[in-house]
């Protein structure tokens, strides 16, 4: 039971590969750290694994099967800037249930209050929006979560609140997590294993 990327190669321009023959595998229930220099292709790898980029070479399998071509993707990606990942013209309750109905238990563990649901995105702070983005990604059909710098823009207390909640939920739901961060101390605290992108990338 794992999310596996085999021999992944990708470039935004022809003749300029930023990922070449990358192999990565993430077990269910595992918390794996991914670190690398800025501009080395971490976010690109995340997008490929979560199905946002299709023009890659190589093979991605989810628990031995191919990524479903449509419907809910069991690999969910959460970005650094939640304000860019929500529709500014939707209310929070619509944003939250965009992909799937999120369980009350997940909402409670993130401390999402009832009266936040009727607000517009610009009426919430970055930390509050990121809770929504995570709750939305942790629907019942999610098997893998890719967290691309999800707490980089947040203060330390909010960061600890959010990560402690995420770790509890992924443990309960047996979800595998890929943590991308520049902060070594955070990676050390959260992850079972760490990979350095430079070591698995053959460009």
């Amino acid at each position: 039971m794992c999310l596996k990327g085999e021999n992944l190669s990708f470039g935004y321009k022809r003749n300029n590969l930023i990922l070449h023959n990358v192999n990565i595998s993430l077990e269910r229930g595992e918390v794996l750290g991914l670190i690398g220099d800025s501009g080395s292709g971490k976010s690109t790898l995340c997008k490929i694994l979560a199905g946002y980029e299709n023009n890659y070479q190589g093979n991605i399998s989810i628990d031995g099967k191919e990524t479903p071509p449509k419907g809910y993707n069991p690999v969910q990606l959460v970005f650094q800037h939640p304000e860019k990942a929500v529709n500014p013209k939707w209310k929070m309750k619509d944003i939250l249930n965009e992909g799937d109905i999120v369980s009350q238990h997940v909402l409670d563990s993130f401390g999402i209050k009832k009266n936040w649901l009727n607000r517009w995105p610009n009426e919430l702070s970055g930390g509050e929006l990121q809770r929504f983005a995570l709750a939305r990604a942790l629907g019942p059909k999610t098997k893998y979560l890719i967290a691309d710098e999800i707490t980089t823009m947040l203060d330390a207390i909010t960061q600890a609140q959010i990560w402690n909640t995420v770790l509890d939920i992924v443990k309960e739901m047996n979800i595998g997590v890929l943590v991308v961060s520049h902060e070594k101390n955070l990676i050390k605290k959260l992850c079972h294993n760490v990979v350095y992108l430079g070591n698995i990338n053959n460009v």
Partner: protein, 325 residues
């Protein structure tokens, strides 16, 4: 970069604050429904001081008014903003007219991200800015010197912002602040998303500016980065300063820190205990007549629910808390 005489003068007056913000309050006038207006208070009773040759870090939660403070100092707030209190620069009160005169010259802003650069303009021209034709040659020479010092190759001059990496952009943004030999540098979140090498490099640029006699205000939520280079740390929460601490106070379990919020922030770091206190920063539309940390504080008592605590001087720092002595 400023002549020798200026630097010497800077040394002499180092004991006097270059920038003094006193009792600053900021609110936004909004239309609630129809023609009814409401006032949303985002900063209240905020006071800080920045000294020549020192770096003052401003840390705190997002939405605590850190960036608004920078915008208030530079006079770039939107028109529905209402500003009270006093901002003094070099001993003189800073009015909107003076802000407009000296910003970009004496006071420089290092903005947060690449989006502050014009995507259709070569970076070297943006660094030089708007100058008289007769000065252009001189500025061009200066810009080349600065680029060389920051390890930006000559061909970077002709590049557009999208051709730069994150670290290069950072160096270009710092160059824009350095070229005018500004005396006060305000850096608004200059570090998120940088790898360790680029981060340390960026921080060293600010340290260098402070060593040359500038006053630097470093706005960040990266406490670890702030501790590396700063002299003092101001902790913001819900639009005001709860504590101004010295860098040495941040150690062990934070027992030298004065305010419970600062201690909570310190203990929430992953390298410390990664422990989160419950609750949220109060929303801006909640009007409180008590300590703003009251709801989340573990040491609260009756006095804390009656009015906002006054600043107290303790161990070379200041704090707004009733329970310290």
């Amino acid at each position: 970069m400023g002549n020798q005489a200026e630097i010497n003068a800077g040394e002499k007056s180092r004991t006097e604050a270059l920038l003094r913000v006193e009792d600053l309050s900021l609110s936004f006038i909004q239309y609630a429904s129809g023609l009814r207006q409401t006032e949303l208070k985002v900063i209240c009773n905020l006071s800080i001081e920045a000294y020549r040759g020192e770096i003052l870090a401003v840390v705190g939660s997002s939405g605590s008014g850190k960036s608004l403070l920078a915008h208030a100092i530079l006079g770039i707030l939107p028109s529905n903003a209402k500003l009270d209190g006093r901002i003094e620069y070099n001993g003189q009160e800073l009015t909107q007219k003076e802000k407009e005169e000296i910003r970009g010259k004496e006071i420089a802003l290092v903005p947060q991200s690449i989006t502050y650069l014009d995507p259709l303009m070569k970076v070297s021209n943006q660094v030089i800015g708007c100058v008289d034709v007769k000065n252009e040659g001189l500025m061009r020479k200066l810009q080349r010197e600065i680029f060389q010092r920051y390890n930006l190759k000559p061909d970077v001059e002709k590049m557009f912002p999208h051709e730069l990496s994150g670290g290069m952009t950072r160096r270009v943004l710092v160059s824009t602040a350095v070229i005018n030999s500004s005396k006060l540098i305000i850096a608004d979140e200059p570090t998120p998303g940088l790898d360790e090498k680029t981060l340390n490099e960026t921080l060293s640029h600010f340290k260098e500016m402070a060593n040359k006699g500038c006053a630097v205000i470093l706005i960040t939520h990266d406490i670890e980065a702030a501790l590396k280079i700063s002299d003092k740390i101001a902790v913001f929460y819900a639009g005001t300063v709860l504590e101004v601490a010295n860098v040495e106070d941040f150690k062990n379990n934070g027992e030298n820190l004065r305010h419970p919020y600062t201690r909570a922030l310190w203990n929430a770091l992953p390298q410390n205990r990664f422990k989160a206190v419950k609750g949220h920063q109060p929303m801006q539309d909640e009007i409180l007549d008590r300590c703003i940390f009251y709801e989340r504080c573990s040491k609260k008592n009756d006095l804390c629910s009656k009015g906002i605590p006054q600043f107290k001087k303790i161990n070379g720092g200041v704090v707004r808390c009733n329970n310290v002595s």
